[in-house]
């Protein structure tokens, strides 16, 4: 079981998650976001093969209004 941090929130994953399955779990559309794991950007074509491990810090961002 992996303990991760997702957008600053602590989270326990009960099974093996790839970024793809994590996005699916939260119903996030991948083309509208960008993902960073432990400070490094994960390319969209790696979402399927990139598995999350214990203590990973994940940031998922999107565009909001700003000046």
């Amino acid at each position: 079981m992996a303990k991760i941090q997702l957008n600053g929130r602590k989270l326990e994953l009960n099974k093996k998650y790839s970024i793809f399955t994590l996005l699916k779990k939260y119903k996030i559309i991948s083309k509208k976001i960008a993902v960073e794991v432990n400070g490094k950007i994960v390319n969209k074509n790696q979402y399927n093969s990139f598995y999350l491990k214990n203590k990973d810090k994940i940031e998922i961002v999107h565009f909001i209004g700003g000046g």
Binding site: L6, N7, G8, R9, Y26, K27, I28, K31, K32, I33, A34, V35, E36, G39, I41, N43, K44, E59, I60, V61, H62, F63, I64, G65, G66, G67
Partner: protein, 257 residues
């Protein structure tokens, strides 16, 4: 009049007005104001998504990035490193290469940290970004940004969100005169006439957010800015009359009864 578009790097924008998408009541108002402004490019910020509230509306649902050009910014970043991180994420999101760099130095004035701004510009240009840089109105630093490869220089008129208008016309004039890349006044414009003045001075464009969003009627104000930018630009292109010390009668004196 011949088509007079704003060209930044290879990007051609039909409107010389760029608008920010922050501070609005909701996304619907944002979208209506953007439409009324006639802007072809809008600034957007990069933030964490809300994992828990998936029903929250998204900016992209109201402003289609395929129809209007997004200019990701680094608002809220206080170092070159934070800015680079934000912009690399923005690029990953959908290939955005044209971005607005804004490295803040002080929370109260939101004045740019120019040392970090110069540092970040250098790296971003090297990484292939087309960098539009929010900067102080210092002519030497503006020139330095141009040397580093910035695609556009965006000096402040006065502090971000202050609505104080153009506070240093002399500096701005020098920056305009010396620059080979577009000058876009960013920050501090308070009302439509401020934008006209900036355009009359020879700025290539203006970036407005608070002056529209914080107006009592943002949609009407957006349209007002659209007109004021066109008006100022036309006035600049036409060239103003010479100022005289004394009067010069408008009606001929010949044939006076």
């Amino acid at each position: 009049m011949k088509k007079d578009f704003l060209k930044i790097d290879s990007q051609i924008l039909k409107s010389r007005l760029i608008v920010g998408t922050g501070k609005y009541k909701d996304f619907k108002e944002t979208a209506l104001a953007v439409k009324a402004s006639g802007a072809s490019m809008v600034t957007v910020a990069v933030r964490r998504i809300n994992i828990l509230d998936k029903k929250k509306p998204l900016l992209t649902d109201f402003l289609d990035p395929k129809k209007i050009k997004y200019l990701p910014n680094t608002a809220g970043c206080f170092s070159a490193e934070e800015s680079l991180r934000t912009l690399r994420l923005a690029r990953e999101m959908g290939g955005w290469k044209m971005i607005k760099l804004e490295v803040l130095g002080d929370k109260k004035t939101l004045y740019p940290n120019m040392i970090e701004t110069l540092k970040a510009t250098k790296v971003l240009v090297k990484e292939g970004f087309k960098v539009l840089v929010y900067c102080s109105d210092d002519p030497l630093l503006a020139k330095e940004l141009e040397y580093l490869g910035a695609s556009a220089i965006m000096p402040l008129a006065s502090p971000i969100g202050s609505g104080q208008g153009i506070q240093n016309k002399i500096n701005l004039s020098i920056i305009i005169k010396n620059s080979k890349v577009p000058i876009i006044v960013d920050a501090g414009i308070g009302t439509a006439s401020d934008a006209t003045i900036a355009m009359e001075m020879g700025c290539d464009g203006v970036l407005i957010n608070s002056a529209i969003a914080k107006s009592n009627n943002p949609i009407l104000m957006a349209e007002s800015f659209k007109n004021s930018v066109i008006s100022g630009r036309q006035s600049f292109l036409a060239g103003r009359m010479q100022k005289l010390f004394y009067a010069d009668a408008s009606s001929p004196s010949k044939g006076l009864i």
